[in-house]
């Protein structure tokens, strides 16, 4: 077994992708300038958020996200052993590297600062968290006010009469800066609570392992998991709408063949139809600001903009209601099971002091957990949906100005190029002479599209560089599911015994035929009783969990989406298998053991 992964400097540029580096921030690509540091570090591919090639503008949000995370570890809460997570783009894929504090004296010195800063947040959690949602709603409202109108033929008369003394060009540039600054702010808000939430959860996790060394991970997760989770609301809304459609006798019209726009239109005019449409409109805001992917790609389809997606799920639910099946999640059973688990472990603690500590840590973990589970809807789904929409508006404006042909081409620009493009537009508009863009960009966009196509042919290795002895950064373990064990497994390569192992993310054992799904577009192929095998799952896949028998993912830990949802639905799940989608073929019979974290190919 090798003791290190290939060097990032050994990675060849895929043919036809030459020059890809120039499309990303100069600070976020590997270079000789930092070679010694970069070559000695450990880099893992972030398959949880970005399993595919990332376009230059999309890289913005990832940089803001990962660097925001880092800032809170390093500069806000002073997490004693962990600095940030470094980020690089390689052949269009994102690699991350957890950075620790090496010097034990320095770790020691950070402890009092951490105690003061994190302690303040834990002690005032409810008050501070109460302010979070209004902050985020205000931010989304502000994002919604953004618009990118074309530069006017003449400045409005009001500019003259009010003596404004500025022009629309300045507004255009300012608005773009506002959009990216609000996006950065969004990610600052995102990590205000998350790092601490994970730290508190890990502490409870550690206490459980100390009291009960062999306690299964999912037992710990079950004791903490929330029941009313906003991330499930979009799905819940569809279930309610399905029931309502049957009650109002409009189900058949919704089930009729046709595109969403036509089907919805056909309901208009009848009493039941109008009533149902009103409920549908009501549910759309905010719950249809829901991405079919991780929310980190501009190309992820958002329900609001692709009504066929929620309509498809709705139809499945309507059919179930008509068959007399219950759509309710077994809430009472989940709550009763959670309470039983807590009670029984508590009874098994001999010592009064330990029992009190256990209760206190469980209490804190439950205090922080709603944020851990809920923020995702508000940030990655809702706010991101707005950011992508506004950028697309900007793209459309540039298409109208003749700069390129497709509004989505704007995402082939890096975030710092956009002001230059806008300046070019301004230049031509102000002078009354041709901008360079309309000649320059169509050619350049063709070249960039070619680079992206070439990058998509490349298969990124799961990791690069030198793995550390132990991985301590809390996000790396909890969210990405990267542990010293998974690193060892990657180094050893896939086993050839037909067995895969990963996180025992949701208990239970199931057997069934595999369905390998590589992207959201494939989920319509899933049949009742199949085992979903995917690189990862996204919240908007929720409706499929009603029909599958188990889930296997390549990436993700016990807090990954697949893990959380499968625990809610009572389905076995094994996450972070690394090679699931590579080794398993659709149709193979699998045995998924969510108790032990193993997947066996039976035939």
């Amino acid at each position: 077994m090798a003791d290190r992964f290939p060097s990032p400097f050994e990675m060849p540029t895929p043919p036809g992708a030459e020059g890809w580096q120039d499309l990303y921030a100069y600070s976020s690509v590997f270079s000789d300038d930092r070679r010694e540091y970069e070559d000695g570090a450990f880099w893992f591919m972030d398959g949880v958020h970005t399993p595919e090639v990332i376009l230059p503008w999309d890289a913005t949000i990832l940089e803001y996200a990962i660097i925001g995370l880092s800032q809170y570890n390093t500069r806000h809460y002073v997490i004693p052993p962990a600095l940030g997570v470094d980020i690089r783009f390689l052949n269009g894929y994102m690699y991350l590297s957890p950075v620790g504090v090496a010097d034990p004296k320095e770790i020691e010195a950070r402890v009092p600062e951490f105690a003061e800063r994190a302690g303040y947040y834990f002690a005032n959690w409810d008050r501070l968290y109460a302010a979070w949602m209004p902050k985020l709603r205000a931010l989304i409202d502000e994002l919604e006010t953004i618009s990118f109108p074309a530069l006017p033929h003449r400045e409005d008369m009001a500019v003259i009469t009010e003596g404004r003394g500025t022009g629309s060009s300045l507004d255009l540039l300012t608005t773009y800066h506002k959009l990216i600054d609000l996006t950065m702010k969004l990610w600052h808000h995102h990590f205000e609570f998350l790092n601490l939430g994970y730290a508190a959860y890990l502490d409870f996790f550690g206490a459980c392992k100390q009291l009960f060394p062999s306690i299964p991970d999912q037992a710990i997760a079950k004791m903490v998991a929330g029941i009313q989770v906003d991330l499930f609301r979009p799905d819940e809304e569809l279930k309610k709408l399905a029931q309502l459609a049957v009650d109002l006798d409009v189900a058949d019209r919704l089930l009729a063949e046709g595109a969403a726009a036509d089907v919805l239109e056909s309901l208009r005019g009848s009493a039941g139809g109008d009533k149902w449409l009103a409920a549908w409109e009501e549910a759309k805001q905010p719950w249809f600001n829901f991405s079919a992917g991780s929310g980190f790609y501009h190309s992820d389809k958002v329900w609001l903009e692709y009504l066929d997606i929620p309509l498809g799920f709705l139809r499945t639910y309507i059919t179930k209601v008509q068959r007399g099946e219950s759509l309710e999640r077994p809430m009472e059973a989940v709550v009763a099971e959670r309470d039983r688990i807590v009670e029984e472990y508590t009874e098994l603690i001999d010592d009064d002091e330990d029992r009190a500590t256990f209760a206190a840590k469980l209490g804190l973990a439950r205090t922080v957990f709603p944020y851990v589970e809920n923020h995702n809807f508000y940030v990655e789904h809702w706010a991101h949906s707005v950011v992508w929409r506004k950028m697309r508006d900007l793209g459309r404006m540039l298409v109208d100005a003749g700069f390129f042909e497709n509004p989505d081409d704007v995402f082939l620009l890096s975030r710092h190029e956009v002001p230059e493009v806008l300046f070019d537009l301004y230049h031509g508009w102000a002078v009354g002479a041709p901008s360079r863009g309309p000649k320059y960009w169509p050619r350049e966009m063709a070249r960039r599209s070619g680079i992206m196509t070439a990058l998509r042919q490349w298969s990124p290795p799961p990791a690069l560089g030198v793995p550390p002895e132990v991985i301590t950064e809390p996000f790396t373990v909890m969210l990405w599911g990267i542990t010293s064990e998974s690193v060892k497994q990657w180094l050893g390569g896939a086993s050839d015994s037909g067995a895969l192992s990963g996180f025992a993310a949701s208990p239970g054992i199931a057997e069934g035929p595999a369905r390998v799904i590589l992207s959201a577009d494939g989920i319509a192929d899933l049949r009742e009783g199949e085992i979903l095998v995917a690189p990862l799952t996204a919240p908007s896949w929720a409706p499929v969990f009603g029909k599958i028998a188990a889930t296997v993912t390549d990436v993700g830990g016990i807090m990954s989406h697949a893990a959380i949802v499968c625990r809610e639905y009572g389905l076995p799940a094994v996450t972070g298998t690394a090679f699931g989608t590579k080794n398993i073929k659709t149709g193979q019979r699998l045995r998924v053991d969510g108790n032990e974290g193993t997947v066996t190919v039976l035939e």
């Binding site: 834990f122 890990l202 306690i215 500590t357 599911g481 010293s484 996180f503 025992a504 830990g557």
Partner: protein, 356 residues
């Protein structure tokens, strides 16, 4: 004087004449634990039989003369006492009572020559702080009234094994006060058998049930002659948290002549798990019930009965190693910040270890 006490009619007041092992069986039976049926010959019968035969004084004198520092004297006195007891004539009254009870057990089990285990149960045996385990005789696979009454006499005699005498002397138990009750219980014919602890013996983890299991009779596991399959089952979640399958080379089997003999396990079966997941769960449930009943960690012997195709409980005793350790209070840090720092500095493993 009650001669025969059925396990199913067990009353706590009977404990004094039942001895540790029979009391334990009676308690388990009355708690609804899956124990094979049977009855006990009370310790009073032993006392009366010795008195009737005029042996009480003679045996007391034999034991009183023993010099504990001299193993030869212990062994000579023991041998003589055992000879006397094995040779005594049981009263017709008791002989008939035992035969009648055996016949009734035969009816219950649908086999008039039902095979039984005849076990010694000394009156102070199996106290939490005094283990007589292995000190006295057990006869397995006994059939028919003659053999049963004979085995009862031999169990009585085994009160005076060398180890039994020495054990009582060392602990200062009065030799005169020691008496022997005898249990007669339907034999199970195990496909697999073993022991279970209601905690993890390696680290004292109370949330786990540790199961050792091997082919055939439990003797192979108890004596340590085989490396058994080993499982850890989480009590609360019911999940198998660890499983280690070993090559089980020896098993105790029953011959056609009702003898239990050690035999080599054929190679193809050695490394096959001897329990299914459902059976593992059944053993864990049984151990957990015993623990809940006794309200303290248990050390359980169980068997998977061939005929019943179900798990039965053979014995349950308090676990003594971890239970006697002083409780390590405050084993996790109550100060959340200090504890978080500790957790961050010493990250716990994210994945449970798997040794499959």
């Amino acid at each position: 004087m009650a001669q025969i006490l059925w396990f199913e009619n067990y009353q706590p007041a009977d404990a004094a004449v039942l001895g540790g092992k029979n009391t334990s069986l009676g308690t388990m039976f009355s708690a609804g634990l899956p124990v094979p049926p049977g009855f006990a010959v009370s310790a009073d019968c032993y006392r009366k039989a010795l008195a009737d035969a005029g042996l009480s004084g003679q045996i007391d004198a034999l034991v009183a003369a023993v010099d504990m520092r001299d193993p030869v004297s212990v062994s000579a006195a023991g041998e003589r006492a055992r000879e006397l007891i094995t040779g005594l004539a049981m009263s017709a009254d008791l002989d008939e009572a035992i035969r009648a009870a055996y016949a009734r057990l035969g009816e219950k089990c649908g086999d008039e020559r039902v095979p039984v285990a005849v076990r010694s149960s000394a009156t102070c045996e199996d106290q939490p702080d005094a283990s007589f385990a292995g000190e006295h005789d057990t006869y397995l696979w006994v059939r028919g009234g003659d053999a049963v009454t004979d085995a009862v006499r031999r169990c009585w005699a085994s009160l005076f094994t060398d180890r039994g005498i020495a054990y009582r002397l060392e602990r200062g138990y009065g030799q005169h006060g020691a008496a022997m009750s005898v249990g007669v219980q339907q034999m199970v014919r195990p496909r697999a058998a073993g022991v279970a602890f209601t905690l993890n013996p390696l680290d004292g983890d109370r949330s786990q049930i540790a199961i050792d299991a091997s082919w055939g009779f439990g003797e192979a596991v108890v004596s340590g002659e085989v490396t058994p399959d080993n499982y850890l089952v989480d009590k609360v979640m019911g999940t198998i948290t660890r499983r280690t399958i070993s090559a089980k080379t020896t098993e105790y089997r029953l011959t056609d002549a009702d003898a239990v003999v050690a035999a080599e396990v054929e190679e193809a079966r050695q490394s096959v798990p001897c329990l299914t997941d459902e059976q593992i769960a059944a053993v864990a449930r049984l151990a957990r019930r015993a623990e809940k009943h006794y309200k303290c960690p248990q050390d359980v012997e169980w068997a998977l009965d061939e005929a019943l195709d179900d798990v039965v409980l053979l014995q349950s005793r308090p676990e003594t190693v971890w239970s006697r350790r002083p409780k390590a209070g405050g084993s996790c840090n109550a100060d959340p910040i200090a504890s978080m720092v500790h957790t961050l500095l010493h990250p716990v493993k994210g994945t449970p270890e798997s040794t499959c």
